[in-house]
Amino acid sequence: MTARFAATELNLSNYRTERRYRLMLFSMTAMLVLPVLIILGILVLKGAPMISWEFLFEFPRRGMTEGGIYPALLGTIFIVVVDLIFAMPIGVAAAIYLSEYAPDNWLTRTINLAIINLAGVPSIVHALFGVGAFVIFFGFGTSILAAALTVAIMTLPLVIVATRESLQAVPQAFREACWSMGASRWQTIFAVVLPNAISGILTGLILEVSRTAGETAPIMFTGAAFFLPFLPESVFEQTMALSLHLYVVSTQVPEVPEALPYGVALVLIGIVLIMNAISIVFRSYLRGKKKW
């Protein structure tokens, strides 16, 4: 009688296999955490002593071996803001078109292919494109505007894809219910689709900000300067930027104290993490309000 319910050899071996694979997959996943912890750990350990009011809000001194990072910090913020002014409306509008209006034809497929390819172009190639198009052809010179436009083009696919995904996550039934009441596509988008996709759209924008703040190659030829003793007064001037500054103090300037590059890196990653945190808080707030 009992034998019928006892585990057979086959059951046991299945169970062992199951356990083995789960352990393997889990350890692969856990390994992802390791680099993050190590990077953050080293940065905080070595960079934290550098962080002070003066470090954040003073100009570099003595050939950038002393003083703060104020112009670079401000420059990165300028580039991000100008980048968002262009990338956000274009990206969100393109995503709305692709998700809500575009028929399934060769043109749409071509556009989608172009977006994927745009995302795959190496950043240094974007940099050269930016020099040719914005710096020379449009005559913006090496400037905040040219740098921000170059990064905007580079990061557009990110915004478009994230926004499109979040729009498509809104159930089709909502749209049909809305249409059947006599709402147009735009009224439907405005009343039902966008309010429910907003958290995903926000994620896309945060990703965009993080990428923009961290990019070096596309801005070093188009608008970021090695060192400037003053702040830019318009978008047509060059600026310093955190990412390039990190590269400079790490490799180009002799006799920089060891902690300084770590401090710069910590500020850079801090901006990204703070943006992420804000988006998480904002999203959970929005999710609490909207549910289906």
């Binding site: 039934a173 009441m181 009343a191």
Partner: protein
């Protein structure tokens, strides 16, 4: 049917065919629906019932894959000839199989159609919301929480909410597509009572997979089978066995397959 020819025809369907790409969903449909009747449509899955409803309110405009041919007149005018498709859809209320409470407040769910129609002023919209929720037998349950999310109501409440929403369009034609699929029997009965009342003011197209529901509600019933109309008749007569087609008899008696 004694005086049917003198009654106003809300829908006149003549040789209607619907296809999605290479797949035909409905072919050669002919039928008329009269004012103030409940017209039941029964039939198994994939018989073209929902496609027919979608052709009436021109959802093919949102689905490039869907092709409609033949003649389909609503209130005497070809639906494809309505210059303003939005105005056409506003006259046709739709209730879907699974309740679709829009992710907005209960109040906004019902106020939405009124706002689309151009009703202005809080007092006027308040009136529409209360009247429609009352007629859908939901007002008493939600009147104290009109600001909470429509999508958080129970399934049966949500389905009554969608009926209230359809009523807020002040429709000429109300189309219900298997409305009771996700609704408990008690709520189903309440909704059926509501429908019997509504019949006095509008025409109702009732697609149902419950043969008994058609028997209880419909004045006339049509059987669809794999994209074609098998038979239309007075519901009472059909259920008494006066059918032209053996398949209708089999379907009504549940001997099908």
């Amino acid at each position: 049917m004694v005086a049917s020819e003198t009654r106003t025809k809300v829908l006149e369907v003549d040789n209607l065919s619907i296809s999605y790409g290479a797949k035909t969903a409905m072919s050669g449909l002919n039928l008329d629906v009269y004012e103030n009747e409940i017209f039941g449509i029964i039939g198994p899955a994939n018989s073209g019932k929902t496609s027919f409803l979608r052709a009436i309110n021109r959802m093919d405009a949102f689905d490039t894959n869907m092709k409609v041919s033949g003649s389909l007149r609503f209130m005497g005018t070809e639906v494809s000839a309505w210059r303003n498709a939005y105005a056409l859809r506003r006259q046709i209320g739709v209730v879907f199989p699974l309740p679709v409470g829009l992710p907005m407040s209960i109040y906004d769910n019902v106020a939405f159609a009124a706002k689309l129609r151009g009703v202005k002023g809080k007092a006027a919209i308040d009136e529409v919301v209360e009247r429609c929720l009352t007629r859908a037998a939901l007002w008493d349950e939600v009147k104290d929480r009109l600001d909470s999310l429509g999508s958080q109501l129970s399934g049966g409440q949500q389905q009554r909410l969608t009926i209230a929403r359809a009523l807020s369009q002040e429709p000429t034609l109300l189309m219900l597509d298997e409305f009771s699929i996700a609704v408990d029997p008690v709520t189903t009965m309440r909704i059926e009572d509501v429908l019997k009342e509504l019949k006095k003011e509008m025409t109702i197209l009732l697609v149902t997979n419950l043969v008994q529901q058609a028997e209880r509600l419909a004045d006339r019933t049509a059987l669809f089978l794999s994209g074609s109309l098998i038979e239309i008749g007075e519901t009472g007569a059909l259920f008494e066995g006066q059918t032209q087609d053996q398949r209708t008899k089999d379907y009504l008696e549940g001997r099908f397959g």
